[in-house]
Amino acid sequence: MEHMIWNPTMECMPREQLRSFQDGRLRDIVRRVYENVPFYRHKMQGRGLMPGDIHGVADIELLPFTEKQDLRNNYPFSLFAVPLSEVVRVHASSGTTGKPTVVGYTSGDIDRWAELMARSMYCANVSKGDIVQIAYGYGLFTGGLGAHYGAERVGAVVVPISGGNTTRQLMLLQDFGATALCCTPSYALNLAEALERDGIKETKLKCGIFGAEPWTESMREKIEDMLHIDALNIYGLSEVMGPGVSMECMCKQGMHIWEDHFLPEIIGPDGKGLPYGEQGDLTFTTLSKHGMPLLRYRTHDLCTLTDEPCACGRTHVRMGRIMGRTDDMLIIRGVNVFPSQIEHALLQVKGIQPQYQIVVERKNLLDTLEVQVELSPENMSDTVRELEALERKIADSIASHALVSAKIKLCQPGSLPRSEGKAKRVVDNRKL
């Protein structure tokens, strides 16, 4: 099997050499955040740490963790390590309640992101001459623009169609002859089914770069079988950069984390680092970002790492599939949703009690989110029109606060389950 490698010097660097490269970058980033980000300076001072105390990766456990909550507390720009005038782009993902999580990029960051997405494109053998249909959403979400810059960097033809509108996706897929597809795996399955429904047996697709939501080997087999492509897994999160933090090669044995730019750790429930092979909370320290570098950012994605050599020749560690979350975050059609966001959105609607239940299903290969809400006597109406208007109002509030569309189901007061302490808010019926 041919393995295309975009940057062999970095991607195939012997691990010892890579480690000393990381040591240098870690020292640099610790110094930069200490000098430029009050949040990190105070955290380090609280531990009696000076930048000079961090000699390299071996000292990583001395450094403080960063949580999503820290990004919220510093909303919008307080974690930036450069003056705002040096920032050329911001992206945002939905926060846990109300305010989104904001990330800033310098032009150097955008350039490095394109490089890492170019490496990811090469992992899938996507290069000049390929046509890449990008069906990730464009906008504050990092998916669309991240894939876009990477595909451009390798010289492919980019079709920036963005997400949704399946009919149009199918038309352009056939008319333009895309050879690569970038979207969420569930949307890929959805497109595959639509093709089948329309009786279209042949496309020019040879590979798919799928991410932004967890999926399984059986989903991979199904997509590969239906679309006759290689379906590869890509991983990323906006806080750390966006898509392209790690990417599977054609060996399909886990995603290579671009270790010259990100230092991964697996953290156990006691907050201590775990060795390769053990499952825990994936945590990243960004090694090259200037706009918003992060130390030991807890993704709360559960997975394992391995440093066993890969047949493709890349030396960078591979992460396994995401096996779950260490918090209550849900991923609905690629959008991160926290139950607390839904609760916050409900409380914006007059008369709605915070008695609710979130039911997630996978129907026709797409995730559906139903929010069951008890109808208070205050909101009772004798007309269907008014009750349906109330449902729309609740759905609108959820759409604007949690950036996800939800079906609202009104329920009789007292009908939703209550339990001592923490109520069972989420019923996830998806079988992955």
Partner: protein, 143 residues
Amino acid sequence: MFVKQISVFLENRAGSLAGVTKLLGDNGFDLMSLSIADTTDFGILRGIVADYKRALTILSGAGYSAKVSDVLAVSVPDHPGALAEVLSMLSEKDIGLEYLYSFFRNHGDHALIIIRVDKPDECVKALQNAGIKMLSQEDLQAV
């Protein structure tokens, strides 16, 4: 001139209608009229009972979302086309109908229709001007 209607929110699931009607029956309520509006997920039971205040207290006490609202009990001649005439008249006066259902018992040779409109006061005037009789809460109990 208005009649008090009680409405109750019901989820669309087996037994929910049986539950609320049993509750009303056990408490001695006679449903003089009844209608159900339903969507995929929920229904609204609407009905007329003599003592709507007590009905509201009992329903609320049992945990139902219930509401009392003003509707009109219109006496319509019991012959083909009579209802259409009344409704056309309201429509000409730009009075919108939210919903309508019929009363169980007749009022002499007239049928009784319960209507809910968007402009209740204008509707009363229009019906009066057209010589169409409306029944009060007390009148209904005597039917």
